[in-house]
Homo-oligomer: 360 residues x 2
Amino acid sequence: MRTPGLGAAAVLRALAQLGDVCSLAVASSATLQSLGLGKEAIDYLHSERSRLETESDLKWIESSGATLLPITSEKFPPQLRALRDAPAALYVLGNVDALSQPQVAIVGSRVPTAAGRKFAVQIAAELSGYGLAITSGLARGIDTAAHEAALSAGGRTLAVLGTGPDLCYPADNLALLQRILGNGAVVSEFAPGTPPCRQNFPRRNRIISGLARGTVVVEAATDSGSLITARRALEQGREVFAVPGSPLNPQAAGCLALLREGAHLIRGAADVLEQIEIPIEQNSSSYQCVTDDQKPGGSAHRLDKEYEMLLDALGFEPASIDDLVDRTGFNPGTVASMMLILELEGRVETRPGALFNRVT
Amino acid sequence: MRTPGLGAAAVLRALAQLGDVCSLAVASSATLQSLGLGKEAIDYLHSERSRLETESDLKWIESSGATLLPITSEKFPPQLRALRDAPAALYVLGNVDALSQPQVAIVGSRVPTAAGRKFAVQIAAELSGYGLAITSGLARGIDTAAHEAALSAGGRTLAVLGTGPDLCYPADNLALLQRILGNGAVVSEFAPGTPPCRQNFPRRNRIISGLARGTVVVEAATDSGSLITARRALEQGREVFAVPGSPLNPQAAGCLALLREGAHLIRGAADVLEQIEIPIEQNSSSYQCVTDDQKPGGSAHRLDKEYEMLLDALGFEPASIDDLVDRTGFNPGTVASMMLILELEGRVETRPGALFNRVT
């Protein structure tokens, strides 16, 4: 996970060709090159530093009780696996099964208005009451309000960190983080010790929206990270729910832009539930509402738009990676990684001559 | 105009069969029956009361300088004529040509929040700056704010009354009404002396949205008149613009419902202008932006959805009123009135045997 440029695609290629992921650490340069790894990645894998860091990470995993959940695991949430840039693995502290529970993400401004905070608390409590877990990013403002409201309502909550899984950022949320550990799960794709760093937060945000059935955006300025994440989720065909506000409220500008771009306008939990079509019992507070496409290991989950485009491009005649690159405009690494995921899901099969065939 | 049940449809039939509308007042019972008038209407037309009231109305028109603008006039606004239940005529005080100027309606709560009022003032001033007239209903709250802002911005404004054209309701708006008379126009379909009366306000509201290129709803409770009007305008395929607000603000509930039903979300004048596609010069304050389909007498205006349905039902084979009633589910009177309007516009022609043919 620390190897530069080694993403889910390379991990999946290693799995397909070497039989297991660990073999990457002991493979020759020639083998690694054949898997498409660059010089920087190969140098790192063959370095003393990688051995020390791996040892230290494994020690941390053991001492903390964390789980390192690879994309190949049956417990890896299918909706997250469907992302074109799915993480190769996740560090999970707390209850790994919480990742497969139906979730709604609630994100928004770090400096919300009183009305925004109140709305976040209300909807988090209501959705918790319907058995949905609340996923957020542990940030100040809306994130914190959503986690706390879920806990107060007796529901479950997941925090996805933009730092290593061993750090708490912001530090004032340490008590909250510990309550979440005892309740749901804390998730990170970053190696232990990774400090808060601007460019990691958009990556973190794709995991939040990737885990959830839908993402509720409560107040966001026009240049905010929440807005960027929500736009990407919209492009990926994920459900994005935006809370309206007055055009005179600058904290509402991001949500109003999202609404004009196709996000669902929501007034409360009922508007969210109507859209995500979770089979719910009113006022249920149990966690029993697992649906078919959320079952761990279930493969019949809804495809992201990009996967649908790729399957459409494949059609029912055998095609090579190069053919698919030509037809979709995606880059070769992306296509290779997506095809492997589709193969693991039984949607495509490989044919002699490095060709792929559509199965379903 | 005072005759019970005598609407635009009967007036148009009279025009088609008798050559002029005035003949209705002197026609025999048999002739009136052949035009589809009911007993109540015929009794009224033949009563002493109708002669006294007509005399008194004509006197009022003369003394007030009002214009009685019939649907058959070249100056009758085409967008209003296209309504299925267009008024037979309008009383107009002030400048009749103002009715044909491109307009945006601004309506909303009589008891708005400070933010709602501020938004109404801002957008009315902005739209006025683009040469659009502001149409509203002279009510307290948003209506008053919109009229006043248009006047302050040096723009033009029209008030459509739910009372007779000789009354000012609410009374505190008398000074405003007089400023509007010297600036734009005051319009009513109700006979002089008609007091404010609950059931007349929805009728008034259809004229507001019928005159305008689009209707902006600024704050409306869920059971408000503005909301009912806006829903009807949506159904008729007219542009409805709703101003978002927080779900925690009860005054925003109507607009949020409209937004979920397909109204355009607007954040300011630019979002309105984008949709109505008025050819505008930025910061222009002239009134020169008359477009082809707004020219007085122009017949190529956009059809309402219901007219389109009727033309579709007609197709290009001759059909009778009864055929069209069967195909559309509209009632016979409505179909007859709509067909006459389409005939006046040159879109359909009559054929021997009371059949209609589509021309365009």
